[in-house]
Symmetry: D2
Subunit: 261 residues, 4 copies
């Protein structure tokens, strides 16, 4: 499983979250407590918003802890809304094209989880991408195709519904192929203004999703950034967290009944 | 444009062809004489046959001339049939998944050229890949999809016809989309036993393809490996060269009339 | 030979200099007009000043033109004083440790040129590095050892004299070993406040150094950033350019007579 | 701590040792049982002997488990004496120059351990390298300088004594600087004909070194290649194992009393 964190709040240097926390993502990438795969060394990525219309992106195939560029970039790049992701491949190659976050116009998306039986429905999933978006497909991961389907399903107009519709589409394909493995999906998406994080699984083991409001910012991610969980809210499975300004609210995924059917 | 060479003959160390020729592929990668793009520094690859059932593969995103591993591997790997390719990207990313040669079972394929208007027909091309082969699609290049279509069109049974049918398929799509740019295709494919190299373009400027028989081997490639062209046969456009044992023969592509229509 | 450019002036996005010039450094890296080596594809680097006390750094071993990160970083990083360098190795390995610019505290340094017979005096040069600075030696290049000697010779107190003393030290070693190849050195150094660029060679062929004052900034580099040389001043060999605020002045290197002796 | 294994015996494909063991080095690189550092993802390397006079070398900065080239190379390269190493950096950069094994003429060397207080005696250690060998220094690791000192101390004539003398030299420098951290050194060296593996530490915690004779070959390494330790001999600290043909013998390091003084 991958790990990720997203930050919204006062403008800070990225290093204050990426390196200076006792359980920062870079430290986590070396050893895992709450996830199944030991190491997150199959590439990493950053996405951040600033005054530009589209977010900045940095993808690297080295482990995060050994990339000297990351140390310097995190010391010099400031942002009030940024994403970071460390990858543990579930099969696809370690290449920059397969690193999160993925971007589209002013949107960023990243993901931890897996599409059960992905290799056996990749053909069908790719065929759901409309021609107008097909040029965006750069790699071969499940995460990228999920993001493109979210866009196709109206992410820009109604992100919550687009996410629910995309999960339903994938579950439907999995049912047609009689796939028994689960669809697990803990993700976050942003347009630069607000963030929507989702925790979902078709079985009982949704990957963890933690959220915490600090004085000047909110952090959400696959694991707490502190060794203690104190003050970190575990978002319930089947729910999403909407983060805007200094507030977050947790609500059920739209159409959750349908997804669980 | 990319450059490539293929060798068939007595077993030799790869370095004898890759480094020790006055106009070797590694030297060519630094400066071009006969091709349009100055530098071939967007990744390279090797494929070679030995006693194993499937060929060895080595792909790297560094320029060939600066990869210290290549020097050592070429000094220690021996083969009687091998491919080498230096890439100059026409747009897609520099990643190992996009490096030639591509492989499938005991087959190798590499390519120099371009599908005119590729981005506008990539959607249609990918949809021609049958479900059974779709899992082989790793990157986003035109070369890889051409190879998968060749397999779908019967490469294992009748390679010449499969190549011709694939070119016809692509030209047909290009016509439907009213693409004016040409389809250029200078390639080689092998099953480990024989090689078939093709020189084709839908316009008058097919990328060059040179062939030469030496005492103990045959070399075919996008450029001669000697600064002089002496003894190097330029394969005519619309033709293919079949290389088996110590012999090569040049013949017209099947259905050439149809392709030129 | 390498190529480089340095910018001082109004705060701009790096892309305005790195990509949006008709003869930008990234374009130059693909094909050279004024330098001897065709391609600058053996790594590149950026260094930039912002509000932090020490400069930001980004080093990469891929060719500059094919690094997708560089495109995004250059679109999102702003600076009023920055360095960029594209490398063509004269022998040492392509690794991040060997990429320019080099940094020390608030100082940046980058370089085009070569120490004649470097391999035969590397032993002596490294032994001139004082113990207190030796931990800074990361790679094996001549450029890095030159920078460390400049620091040892008082760069922080009197940069012009430190540069002249360092050149004298190296020339002295070369004389002791009876090296006939020249010492060529076109470089720039900054403390974040001003820049000092030097053009020097022990023979008649000092690598080029061009400078131009625009309305809001000054650019200095190994080549003009425009295809026309109009308005670009060629700094004479044996001279340095001091750039502070919106002004530059050109003067002879200290002790030039001694260096030419 | 790093991990490594060395093989001597019948010619085999490298994959039979690197991938097909239940506790192979590539599996080990993902999770450690007996060593302190969790992950060995800071580069890896191979060295192998064949008919060439000097060994083949392959170094990569990616984690071993995610390098697609390694899978293919290990399937196609055969050897009767080879080294493999997975690195966990104790501070120096992840670059190919810093990856083991190191080579010199027909010699290979690799190492697990650390020179206590290395940064504070690196200056002195580098100055012990004779001028004739100094050109071999490519990186900045303690391992590389140890190997160069071993050569300077007569590795080619009397490897056991050269190793002991080198350890004594380093311990002497550490004593002069009053370094309290230990010198730990579990290594193997070969000339292509025999292997000498050493297990040493100046404190009580020498890194493990296991050896096992199979019917047709001998394996020695930092950990057993089987989950069970059965049949694996733990070489005692302060001892070396000499492996030649199908035999190994364990004996005390020369001058061990002096080293422990």
């Amino acid at each position: 499983m991958c790990r990720w964190m997203a930050y919204q709040g006062d403008v800070v240097y990225l290093e204050s979250l990426l390196f200076e926390q006792e359980h920062s993502l870079v430290h986590q990438s070396l050893s895992a407590k709450k996830s199944e795969v030991t190491v997150n060394a199959d590439g990493f990525g950053l996405g951040w918003y600033d005054e530009r219309s589209e977010p900045g992106l940095y993808h690297e195939i080295l482990p995060a802890w050994s990339d000297s560029n990351l140390k310097s970039l995190a010391r010099h790049i400031k942002s009030g809304l940024f994403f970071a992701h460390v990858r543990a491949s579930t099969g696809t190659a370690t290449s920059r094209s397969n690193c999160h976050p993925f971007s589209y116009k002013n949107w960023l998306f990243m993901h931890n989880g897996q599409v059960g039986g992905y290799e056996s429905i990749r053909y069908q999933l790719d065929r759901l991408i409309p021609e107008s978006l097909y040029g965006e497909r750069q790699g071969a991961t499940d995460s990228e195709v999920i993001f493109l389907l979210m866009i196709a399903n109206g992410l820009e107009q109604d992100p919550e519904q687009a996410i629910a519709d995309t999960l339903a589409q994938i579950l439907d394909l999995m049912k047609q192929k009689d796939i028994q493995e689960p669809l697990r999906f803990t993700s976050v998406v942003s347009n630069g203004d607000e963030m929507i994080a989702v925790r979902f699984s078709s079985d009982e083991q949704a990957p963890s999703l933690y959220c915490k409001a600090f004085d000047t910012h909110i952090v959400i991610g696959s694991e707490p950034l502190e060794l203690s969980n104190q003050g970190w809210t575990l978002v319930p499975a089947g729910h999403l967290a909407k983060i805007k300004g200094n507030q977050y609210q947790i609500q059920a995924l739209p159409d959750l009944m349908k997804l669980s059917a």
